[in-house]
Amino acid sequence: MFRNQYDTDVTTWSPQGRLFQVEYAMEAVKQGSACVGLRSRTHAVLAAANKAASELSSHQRKVFRVAEHAGVALAGLTADGRVLSRFLRSECINHSFVYESPLPVSRLALRLADKAQVCTQRSWKRPYGVGLLVAGLDETGAHLYYNCPSGNYFEYQAFAIGSRSQAAKTFLERRFEKYNDYTPEQLIKDALSAIKETLQGEKLTSSNCTVAIVGRKDDGTMEPFETIDAKRIQEIIDSMEAAEEAPTEPSAMQQEEEGTDAAAPMDI
């Protein structure tokens, strides 16, 4: 994308019918570190690759609980994300106060999208520079939405955003058709594998990723939106690596095709 004479204001159209400022805002999302979301019929999982400003600092918080039944993972300008999370929390609380029941996820995603759209149509505002993966559970099942700075939102079975997310998307594209029937554990493993794709060689540990899950068990009880603790994540990562190392030479080819193994000696 290059500078042109139509990109100064968000309220200026280009002759091709584009709003460049909105597109530049979506670029900000691509600069953030990766986030991944996937869902089955009953559970939704969000995972984020943690990035720390320096070795001395703690990492940026990218996964936020919005209500008992919903949460978000964000990529881009984290400050914008924090403010939007606060908005989402307030919408959920207001709905619960009046109706004593959780705000359906599709309506939550719509309110967020409408808020983002306002910023694309006011000359004194700028678009939010953050993309959010909204995951939640309501009476129609588990849902995953992607809200982007343009004010558009779509429902997904699985999606990835942020830097190097294309690697994760490729991984998910191969497997998403089975996700509706996946168990929560399988979803978490696939989320971790997708995040691993975005790390490009760096070792996946519980300190450089965050995973959260929300869902409903078979007996009808709800598992509220919760970040899985680091110890459990490390256990899952270790079990995934053990499963990869177990097969012998002939199936090394198989593993490459599945794309889950990034530790082959030739890869740097």
């Binding site: 106060f97 009046v98 109706y99 004593e100 029941s101 359906p104 599709s106 309506r107 309501d138 009476e139 129609t140 409903r216 007996d219 009808g220 009880t221 709800m222």
Partner: protein, 206 residues
């Protein structure tokens, strides 16, 4: 749910064919006592709610619990402004939840008091019908048994509440939907010997 079909204007029985129980959305029934015009206003609010729900067309629908909570907020807020909606509302409904069919029955008063119970009554019903229901209600009643029990209460109220009339409506809500039955009357008995020659035992001024 059952009610009579009378609406009074002070001590005048002004309207005798008034439907005081209405269906709300797919899952609930609302019944009201008190100021009928305020009930019509509440029905308008609920119409707006159910309409926007319907327009969403996303598989989510308002259940009796949500409507009960909404009405509580409305009634309580009006009372705080010293401008109440002068009604006692009874909210009943059935909705399929993750743990199976969930039945709901609750009430909201004009000052915002609200609760959920297995038997609800308004006005004189609180004094005359609730004791009967507490004695004879069971969890596993059939529809016919329930109607008989409710008719027992209605009869007592007909005899003893001077603002009631002998024209009743029964309403039923199940997961299949709401049914409001046409009005009918109950048989009353006035042949008590005490009613014959009522002045017989009267002596002096009282």
């Amino acid at each position: 749910m059952a009610s009579d079909t009378g609406a009074s204007y002070g001590s005048t029985l002004r309207y005798k064919s008034v439907e005081r129980i209405k269906a709300v959305g797919k899952h609930s029934l609302i019944g009201a006592s008190g100021e009928f015009s305020d009930f019509q206003e509440i029905l308008r609010y609920l119409d707006e709610l159910t309409l926007s729900d319907h327009m969403w067309d996303d598989g989510n629908s308002l259940g009796p619990k949500e409507i009960h909570s909404y009405l509580t907020r409305v009634m309580y807020n009006r009372r705080n402004k010293f401008d109440p909606l002068w009604n006692s509302l009874v909210l009943g409904g059935v909705k399929k939840g993750p743990k199976g069919e969930e039945k709901y029955l609750g009430m909201v008063s004009m000052i915002g008091t609200h609760f959920e119970e297995n038997h609800i009554a308004t006005g004189f019903g609180n004094h005359l019908a609730i004791p009967i229901l507490r004695a004879e209600w069971r969890e596993d009643m059939t529809f016919e048994e329930a109607v008989k029990l409710v008719e027992k209460c209605l009869l007592v109220l007909l005899y003893r509440d001077r603002s009631s009339i002998n024209k009743f409506q029964i309403a039923k809500i199940t997961t299949e939907g709401a049914t409001i039955y046409p009005p009918y009357s109950l048989k009353t008995y006035w042949g008590f010997s005490h009613f014959e020659n009522p002045a017989q035992g009267a002596v002096g001024s009282w």
